[in-house]
Symmetry: C2
Subunit: 216 residues, 2 copies
Protein backbone atom coordinates (compact mmCIF):
# COMPACT_ATOMS: atom_id res chain seq x y z
CA UNK A 1 0.00 0.00 0.00
CA UNK A 2 0.98 3.60 -0.46
CA UNK A 3 0.64 5.12 2.99
CA UNK A 4 0.49 8.88 3.20
CA UNK A 5 1.30 10.23 6.65
CA UNK A 6 0.36 13.75 7.69
CA UNK A 7 2.75 14.74 10.46
CA UNK A 8 6.46 14.44 11.11
CA UNK A 9 6.61 13.82 14.85
CA UNK A 10 7.27 10.71 16.92
CA UNK A 11 3.96 9.07 16.04
CA UNK A 12 4.54 9.65 12.33
CA UNK A 13 7.95 8.03 12.74
CA UNK A 14 6.53 5.06 14.66
CA UNK A 15 3.74 4.32 12.20
CA UNK A 16 6.07 4.87 9.22
CA UNK A 17 8.54 2.40 10.74
CA UNK A 18 5.88 -0.31 10.95
CA UNK A 19 4.51 0.51 7.48
CA UNK A 20 7.97 0.20 5.95
CA UNK A 21 8.59 -3.02 7.87
CA UNK A 22 5.40 -4.32 6.29
CA UNK A 23 6.68 -3.60 2.78
CA UNK A 24 4.55 -0.53 2.12
CA UNK A 25 5.73 2.79 0.76
CA UNK A 26 5.47 5.89 2.91
CA UNK A 27 5.05 9.48 1.89
CA UNK A 28 5.30 12.18 4.53
CA UNK A 29 4.04 15.72 4.70
CA UNK A 30 4.46 18.29 7.45
CA UNK A 31 4.24 21.98 8.05
CA UNK A 32 8.03 22.04 8.40
CA UNK A 33 9.52 20.61 5.18
CA UNK A 34 12.96 20.28 6.75
CA UNK A 35 11.56 18.11 9.54
CA UNK A 36 9.71 15.96 6.99
CA UNK A 37 12.91 15.52 4.99
CA UNK A 38 14.88 14.63 8.13
CA UNK A 39 12.32 11.99 9.14
CA UNK A 40 12.26 10.54 5.62
CA UNK A 41 16.05 10.37 5.70
CA UNK A 42 16.02 8.67 9.08
CA UNK A 43 13.47 6.13 7.88
CA UNK A 44 15.22 5.70 4.53
CA UNK A 45 18.43 4.81 6.27
CA UNK A 46 16.73 1.60 7.38
CA UNK A 47 14.63 0.85 4.31
CA UNK A 48 13.85 2.48 1.04
CA UNK A 49 10.37 3.71 0.32
CA UNK A 50 9.96 6.86 2.38
CA UNK A 51 9.74 10.21 0.66
CA UNK A 52 8.25 13.63 1.23
CA UNK A 53 5.30 15.40 -0.38
CA UNK A 54 5.30 19.20 -0.67
CA UNK A 55 1.67 19.44 0.48
CA UNK A 56 -1.37 17.29 1.22
CA UNK A 57 -3.05 17.63 -2.20
CA UNK A 58 0.10 16.54 -4.03
CA UNK A 59 0.23 13.12 -2.38
CA UNK A 60 -3.25 12.16 -1.35
CA UNK A 61 -4.52 11.29 -4.81
CA UNK A 62 -2.23 8.30 -5.19
CA UNK A 63 -2.43 7.19 -1.56
CA UNK A 64 -4.21 4.02 -0.48
CA UNK A 65 -4.45 5.30 3.06
CA UNK A 66 -3.97 8.63 4.81
CA UNK A 67 -2.77 8.60 8.43
CA UNK A 68 -3.35 11.78 10.43
CA UNK A 69 -0.33 11.54 12.74
CA UNK A 70 -1.05 14.86 14.39
CA UNK A 71 -2.89 15.94 17.56
CA UNK A 72 -6.68 15.97 17.59
CA UNK A 73 -7.25 19.66 16.88
CA UNK A 74 -4.77 19.58 13.99
CA UNK A 75 -6.34 16.41 12.59
CA UNK A 76 -9.77 17.98 12.58
CA UNK A 77 -8.32 21.05 10.87
CA UNK A 78 -6.63 18.93 8.18
CA UNK A 79 -9.84 17.10 7.25
CA UNK A 80 -11.77 20.36 7.22
CA UNK A 81 -9.17 22.06 5.02
CA UNK A 82 -8.48 19.20 2.60
CA UNK A 83 -11.87 17.50 2.78
CA UNK A 84 -12.47 17.16 -0.94
CA UNK A 85 -9.08 15.61 -1.47
CA UNK A 86 -9.77 13.01 1.21
CA UNK A 87 -13.25 11.99 0.05
CA UNK A 88 -13.35 8.27 -0.66
CA UNK A 89 -10.04 7.67 1.10
CA UNK A 90 -9.33 5.63 4.21
CA UNK A 91 -8.30 8.25 6.75
CA UNK A 92 -6.81 7.03 10.02
CA UNK A 93 -7.34 9.09 13.18
CA UNK A 94 -4.78 8.19 15.85
CA UNK A 95 -5.52 11.07 18.21
CA UNK A 96 -6.45 11.26 21.87
CA UNK A 97 -8.56 14.32 22.64
CA UNK A 98 -7.23 14.54 26.18
CA UNK A 99 -7.23 17.58 28.44
CA UNK A 100 -3.46 17.63 28.85
CA UNK A 101 -3.64 20.15 31.71
CA UNK A 102 -5.26 17.53 33.96
CA UNK A 103 -4.94 14.13 32.17
CA UNK A 104 -8.34 13.54 33.76
CA UNK A 105 -10.92 14.18 31.00
CA UNK A 106 -11.47 14.02 27.29
CA UNK A 107 -12.21 17.30 25.49
CA UNK A 108 -15.12 15.86 23.51
CA UNK A 109 -18.70 15.33 24.78
CA UNK A 110 -19.49 12.11 26.66
CA UNK A 111 -21.58 10.76 23.78
CA UNK A 112 -18.93 11.46 21.14
CA UNK A 113 -15.25 10.89 20.38
CA UNK A 114 -12.41 12.60 18.59
CA UNK A 115 -12.83 10.18 15.70
CA UNK A 116 -16.50 10.95 15.30
CA UNK A 117 -15.80 14.67 15.37
CA UNK A 118 -13.12 14.26 12.72
CA UNK A 119 -15.57 12.24 10.63
CA UNK A 120 -18.15 14.99 11.05
CA UNK A 121 -15.63 17.56 9.81
CA UNK A 122 -14.64 15.42 6.81
CA UNK A 123 -16.17 15.42 3.34
CA UNK A 124 -18.95 12.88 2.72
CA UNK A 125 -17.55 9.50 1.75
CA UNK A 126 -14.35 9.86 3.76
CA UNK A 127 -13.74 6.51 5.44
CA UNK A 128 -12.52 7.51 8.89
CA UNK A 129 -10.96 4.75 10.97
CA UNK A 130 -9.74 5.02 14.56
CA UNK A 131 -6.49 3.16 15.17
CA UNK A 132 -3.08 3.43 16.84
CA UNK A 133 -4.40 5.69 19.63
CA UNK A 134 -3.27 3.21 22.30
CA UNK A 135 0.13 2.46 20.73
CA UNK A 136 2.69 5.19 21.27
CA UNK A 137 5.83 5.94 19.36
CA UNK A 138 8.37 3.99 21.42
CA UNK A 139 6.54 0.66 21.29
CA UNK A 140 5.62 1.27 17.64
CA UNK A 141 9.27 1.56 16.66
CA UNK A 142 10.07 -1.78 18.31
CA UNK A 143 6.69 -3.31 17.44
CA UNK A 144 6.20 -4.74 20.91
CA UNK A 145 5.75 -4.05 24.60
CA UNK A 146 6.83 -6.44 27.30
CA UNK A 147 7.91 -8.87 24.58
CA UNK A 148 4.42 -9.11 23.15
CA UNK A 149 3.27 -7.76 19.76
CA UNK A 150 1.28 -4.56 20.15
CA UNK A 151 -2.49 -4.72 19.91
CA UNK A 152 -3.79 -2.15 17.43
CA UNK A 153 -7.44 -1.50 18.30
CA UNK A 154 -9.44 -0.48 15.23
CA UNK A 155 -12.90 1.12 15.02
CA UNK A 156 -14.64 2.28 11.87
CA UNK A 157 -17.91 2.13 10.01
CA UNK A 158 -16.49 0.92 6.68
CA UNK A 159 -15.47 -2.74 6.87
CA UNK A 160 -13.09 -2.50 3.92
CA UNK A 161 -11.33 0.50 5.42
CA UNK A 162 -11.01 -1.27 8.76
CA UNK A 163 -9.50 -4.27 7.00
CA UNK A 164 -6.99 -2.04 5.23
CA UNK A 165 -5.82 -0.70 8.57
CA UNK A 166 -5.76 -4.22 10.01
CA UNK A 167 -3.56 -5.25 7.08
CA UNK A 168 -1.21 -2.32 7.74
CA UNK A 169 -0.91 -3.45 11.36
CA UNK A 170 -0.45 -7.16 10.72
CA UNK A 171 2.01 -6.72 7.87
CA UNK A 172 4.12 -4.65 10.26
CA UNK A 173 4.16 -7.39 12.88
CA UNK A 174 1.40 -5.96 15.06
CA UNK A 175 -1.84 -7.57 16.21
CA UNK A 176 -4.93 -5.88 14.76
CA UNK A 177 -8.08 -5.99 16.91
CA UNK A 178 -11.17 -4.72 15.08
CA UNK A 179 -13.66 -3.66 17.76
CA UNK A 180 -16.56 -2.39 15.63
CA UNK A 181 -18.10 0.83 14.37
CA UNK A 182 -16.57 4.28 14.65
CA UNK A 183 -18.65 5.15 17.72
CA UNK A 184 -16.55 2.64 19.65
CA UNK A 185 -13.65 5.07 19.27
CA UNK A 186 -15.14 6.56 22.41
CA UNK A 187 -14.24 3.52 24.47
CA UNK A 188 -10.74 3.38 22.97
CA UNK A 189 -10.12 7.06 23.68
CA UNK A 190 -11.55 6.71 27.18
CA UNK A 191 -9.35 3.78 28.11
CA UNK A 192 -6.31 5.49 26.62
CA UNK A 193 -7.08 8.56 28.75
CA UNK A 194 -6.68 6.33 31.82
CA UNK A 195 -3.57 4.72 30.38
CA UNK A 196 -1.93 8.07 29.58
CA UNK A 197 -2.68 9.37 33.08
CA UNK A 198 -0.95 6.28 34.47
CA UNK A 199 1.97 6.69 32.08
CA UNK A 200 2.31 10.33 33.08
CA UNK A 201 2.63 9.66 36.83
CA UNK A 202 6.18 10.03 38.15
CA UNK A 203 6.10 6.45 39.44
CA UNK A 204 3.89 5.36 36.56
CA UNK A 205 4.07 2.92 33.70
CA UNK A 206 6.10 5.22 31.46
CA UNK A 207 5.63 5.81 27.78
CA UNK A 208 6.81 2.38 26.60
CA UNK A 209 3.74 0.60 27.95
CA UNK A 210 0.79 -0.51 25.84
CA UNK A 211 -2.75 -1.68 26.33
CA UNK A 212 -3.26 -5.31 25.39
CA UNK A 213 -5.69 -8.17 25.64
CA UNK A 214 -3.63 -11.05 26.98
CA UNK A 215 -4.93 -14.60 26.74
CA UNK A 216 -3.86 -17.94 28.09
Amino acid sequence: MRVFIVGTGNMAGGIATRALAGGHTVRLVGTDPAKAAALADALGARTDGADVAPAVPDAVGSADMVVLAVPFDAARQVVAEYGDHLAGKTVVDISNPVDFATFDSLTVPADSSGAQQIAAAAAPGTRVVKAFNTTFAGPLVTGEAGGLPLDVFIAGDDPAAREQVAELASSGGLNPVVVGGLRHARELEGMQLLHMALQNRPEGHGWMSALKIVAS
Copy 2:
Protein backbone atom coordinates in the same frame (compact mmCIF):
# COMPACT_ATOMS: atom_id res chain seq x y z
CA MET B 1 -9.52 -8.53 56.02
CA ARG B 2 -12.98 -9.97 56.38
CA VAL B 3 -14.37 -9.98 52.85
CA PHE B 4 -18.11 -10.36 52.48
CA ILE B 5 -19.18 -11.48 49.03
CA VAL B 6 -22.74 -11.07 47.83
CA GLY B 7 -23.28 -13.68 45.12
CA THR B 8 -22.44 -17.34 44.64
CA GLY B 9 -21.65 -17.54 40.94
CA ASN B 10 -18.40 -17.82 39.02
CA MET B 11 -17.26 -14.29 39.83
CA ALA B 12 -17.91 -14.82 43.54
CA GLY B 13 -15.82 -17.97 43.33
CA GLY B 14 -13.01 -16.22 41.47
CA ILE B 15 -12.76 -13.28 43.83
CA ALA B 16 -13.11 -15.54 46.88
CA THR B 17 -10.27 -17.69 45.56
CA ARG B 18 -7.93 -14.70 45.34
CA ALA B 19 -9.08 -13.33 48.74
CA LEU B 20 -8.37 -16.65 50.42
CA ALA B 21 -5.01 -16.90 48.64
CA GLY B 22 -4.24 -13.49 50.14
CA GLY B 23 -4.94 -14.73 53.66
CA HIS B 24 -8.28 -13.03 54.10
CA THR B 25 -11.48 -14.60 55.38
CA VAL B 26 -14.48 -14.86 53.12
CA ARG B 27 -18.13 -14.92 53.99
CA LEU B 28 -20.65 -15.63 51.24
CA VAL B 29 -24.32 -14.89 50.89
CA GLY B 30 -26.68 -15.76 48.06
CA THR B 31 -30.36 -16.07 47.31
CA ASP B 32 -29.89 -19.85 47.12
CA PRO B 33 -28.39 -21.00 50.45
CA ALA B 34 -27.53 -24.42 49.05
CA LYS B 35 -25.46 -22.81 46.29
CA ALA B 36 -23.69 -20.61 48.83
CA ALA B 37 -22.90 -23.64 50.97
CA ALA B 38 -21.62 -25.57 47.97
CA LEU B 39 -19.32 -22.71 46.96
CA ALA B 40 -18.05 -22.33 50.53
CA ASP B 41 -17.36 -26.06 50.62
CA ALA B 42 -15.52 -25.92 47.30
CA LEU B 43 -13.42 -22.99 48.49
CA GLY B 44 -12.90 -24.54 51.93
CA ALA B 45 -11.51 -27.67 50.37
CA ARG B 46 -8.53 -25.59 49.30
CA THR B 47 -8.20 -23.28 52.29
CA ASP B 48 -10.05 -22.62 55.47
CA GLY B 49 -11.75 -19.31 56.01
CA ALA B 50 -14.87 -19.42 53.82
CA ASP B 51 -18.28 -19.61 55.39
CA VAL B 52 -21.86 -18.63 54.63
CA ALA B 53 -24.08 -15.91 56.03
CA PRO B 54 -27.85 -16.44 56.16
CA ALA B 55 -28.52 -12.91 54.85
CA VAL B 56 -26.77 -9.63 54.07
CA PRO B 57 -27.50 -7.89 57.41
CA ASP B 58 -26.06 -10.80 59.40
CA ALA B 59 -22.60 -10.50 57.91
CA VAL B 60 -22.07 -6.97 56.76
CA GLY B 61 -21.53 -5.45 60.19
CA SER B 62 -18.28 -7.29 60.78
CA ALA B 63 -17.06 -7.08 57.20
CA ASP B 64 -14.11 -4.90 56.16
CA MET B 65 -15.26 -4.98 52.58
CA VAL B 66 -18.40 -5.98 50.71
CA VAL B 67 -18.05 -7.28 47.15
CA LEU B 68 -21.19 -7.23 45.02
CA ALA B 69 -20.44 -10.26 42.85
CA VAL B 70 -23.75 -10.09 41.04
CA PRO B 71 -24.95 -8.52 37.76
CA PHE B 72 -25.48 -4.77 37.56
CA ASP B 73 -29.24 -4.72 38.10
CA ALA B 74 -28.96 -7.03 41.10
CA ALA B 75 -26.09 -4.99 42.55
CA ARG B 76 -28.13 -1.82 42.36
CA GLN B 77 -31.02 -3.63 44.00
CA VAL B 78 -28.81 -4.89 46.84
CA VAL B 79 -27.49 -1.44 47.72
CA ALA B 80 -30.98 0.02 47.53
CA GLU B 81 -32.41 -2.72 49.77
CA TYR B 82 -29.58 -2.90 52.34
CA GLY B 83 -28.36 0.68 52.07
CA ASP B 84 -28.28 1.47 55.78
CA HIS B 85 -26.29 -1.67 56.51
CA LEU B 86 -23.70 -0.71 53.90
CA ALA B 87 -23.23 2.92 54.95
CA GLY B 88 -19.58 3.56 55.79
CA LYS B 89 -18.46 0.30 54.18
CA THR B 90 -16.21 -0.23 51.20
CA VAL B 91 -18.54 -1.70 48.60
CA VAL B 92 -16.98 -3.14 45.45
CA ASP B 93 -18.96 -3.01 42.21
CA ILE B 94 -17.60 -5.52 39.69
CA SER B 95 -20.46 -5.27 37.19
CA ASN B 96 -20.61 -4.52 33.49
CA PRO B 97 -23.90 -2.89 32.52
CA VAL B 98 -23.77 -4.36 29.03
CA ASP B 99 -26.68 -4.86 26.66
CA PHE B 100 -26.20 -8.61 26.40
CA ALA B 101 -28.59 -8.89 23.45
CA THR B 102 -26.12 -7.02 21.25
CA PHE B 103 -22.81 -6.78 23.16
CA ASP B 104 -22.61 -3.39 21.45
CA SER B 105 -23.72 -0.85 24.08
CA LEU B 106 -23.80 -0.13 27.77
CA THR B 107 -27.23 0.21 29.39
CA VAL B 108 -26.28 3.37 31.30
CA PRO B 109 -26.19 6.93 29.90
CA ALA B 110 -23.04 8.12 28.12
CA ASP B 111 -22.11 10.46 30.96
CA SER B 112 -22.55 7.83 33.67
CA SER B 113 -21.51 4.30 34.61
CA GLY B 114 -22.89 1.33 36.45
CA ALA B 115 -20.69 2.18 39.41
CA GLN B 116 -21.97 5.74 39.63
CA GLN B 117 -25.56 4.51 39.43
CA ILE B 118 -24.89 2.01 42.21
CA ALA B 119 -23.32 4.80 44.29
CA ALA B 120 -26.39 6.95 43.65
CA ALA B 121 -28.65 4.14 44.89
CA ALA B 122 -26.51 3.56 48.02
CA ALA B 123 -26.88 5.21 51.41
CA PRO B 124 -24.77 8.33 52.00
CA GLY B 125 -21.28 7.46 53.15
CA THR B 126 -21.11 4.16 51.28
CA ARG B 127 -17.62 3.98 49.75
CA VAL B 128 -18.30 2.49 46.33
CA VAL B 129 -15.25 1.26 44.41
CA LYS B 130 -15.21 -0.12 40.88
CA ALA B 131 -12.89 -3.09 40.48
CA PHE B 132 -12.63 -6.56 38.94
CA ASN B 133 -14.90 -5.67 36.02
CA THR B 134 -12.18 -6.54 33.49
CA THR B 135 -11.05 -9.74 35.23
CA PHE B 136 -13.36 -12.65 34.69
CA ALA B 137 -13.76 -15.82 36.72
CA GLY B 138 -11.40 -18.13 34.85
CA PRO B 139 -8.35 -15.87 35.02
CA LEU B 140 -9.25 -14.90 38.61
CA VAL B 141 -9.07 -18.53 39.71
CA THR B 142 -5.59 -18.92 38.22
CA GLY B 143 -4.59 -15.31 39.00
CA GLU B 144 -3.07 -14.77 35.60
CA ALA B 145 -3.65 -14.55 31.87
CA GLY B 146 -1.02 -15.39 29.31
CA GLY B 147 1.41 -16.03 32.14
CA LEU B 148 1.11 -12.48 33.45
CA PRO B 149 -0.53 -11.40 36.74
CA LEU B 150 -3.95 -9.89 36.15
CA ASP B 151 -4.34 -6.13 36.22
CA VAL B 152 -7.17 -5.10 38.54
CA PHE B 153 -8.28 -1.63 37.50
CA ILE B 154 -9.69 0.33 40.44
CA ALA B 155 -11.76 3.53 40.43
CA GLY B 156 -13.30 5.22 43.45
CA ASP B 157 -13.67 8.54 45.19
CA ASP B 158 -12.42 7.43 48.62
CA PRO B 159 -8.63 6.93 48.61
CA ALA B 160 -8.68 4.64 51.65
CA ALA B 161 -11.34 2.43 50.11
CA ARG B 162 -9.39 2.24 46.85
CA GLU B 163 -6.29 1.22 48.78
CA GLN B 164 -8.24 -1.51 50.57
CA VAL B 165 -9.26 -2.97 47.24
CA ALA B 166 -5.71 -2.60 45.94
CA GLU B 167 -4.51 -4.53 49.00
CA LEU B 168 -7.06 -7.28 48.32
CA ALA B 169 -5.73 -7.55 44.77
CA SER B 170 -2.03 -7.46 45.57
CA SER B 171 -2.25 -9.86 48.51
CA GLY B 172 -3.91 -12.32 46.14
CA GLY B 173 -1.08 -12.08 43.62
CA LEU B 174 -2.77 -9.63 41.27
CA ASN B 175 -1.57 -6.25 40.05
CA PRO B 176 -3.75 -3.35 41.30
CA VAL B 177 -3.98 -0.31 39.03
CA VAL B 178 -5.74 2.65 40.67
CA VAL B 179 -7.02 4.86 37.85
CA GLY B 180 -8.75 7.63 39.79
CA GLY B 181 -12.21 8.76 40.86
CA LEU B 182 -15.41 6.76 40.51
CA ARG B 183 -16.42 8.57 37.32
CA HIS B 184 -13.56 6.77 35.59
CA ALA B 185 -15.58 3.58 36.02
CA ARG B 186 -17.12 4.73 32.74
CA GLU B 187 -13.89 4.18 30.85
CA LEU B 188 -13.35 0.80 32.51
CA GLU B 189 -16.87 -0.36 31.69
CA GLY B 190 -16.56 0.99 28.14
CA MET B 191 -13.32 -0.83 27.42
CA GLN B 192 -14.67 -4.01 28.96
CA LEU B 193 -17.71 -3.75 26.70
CA LEU B 194 -15.33 -3.96 23.73
CA HIS B 195 -13.38 -6.77 25.36
CA MET B 196 -16.50 -8.81 26.11
CA ALA B 197 -17.73 -8.38 22.55
CA LEU B 198 -14.38 -9.72 21.34
CA GLN B 199 -14.50 -12.59 23.83
CA ASN B 200 -18.00 -13.46 22.73
CA ARG B 201 -17.14 -13.84 19.04
CA PRO B 202 -16.96 -17.45 17.85
CA GLU B 203 -13.38 -16.92 16.67
CA GLY B 204 -12.71 -14.48 19.50
CA HIS B 205 -10.39 -14.22 22.45
CA GLY B 206 -12.50 -16.46 24.70
CA TRP B 207 -13.31 -15.91 28.33
CA MET B 208 -9.80 -16.57 29.67
CA SER B 209 -8.39 -13.33 28.26
CA ALA B 210 -7.79 -10.18 30.28
CA LEU B 211 -7.08 -6.54 29.68
CA LYS B 212 -3.62 -5.49 30.72
CA ILE B 213 -1.11 -2.70 30.48
CA VAL B 214 2.08 -4.38 29.35
CA ALA B 215 5.40 -2.60 29.68
CA SER B 216 8.91 -3.25 28.49
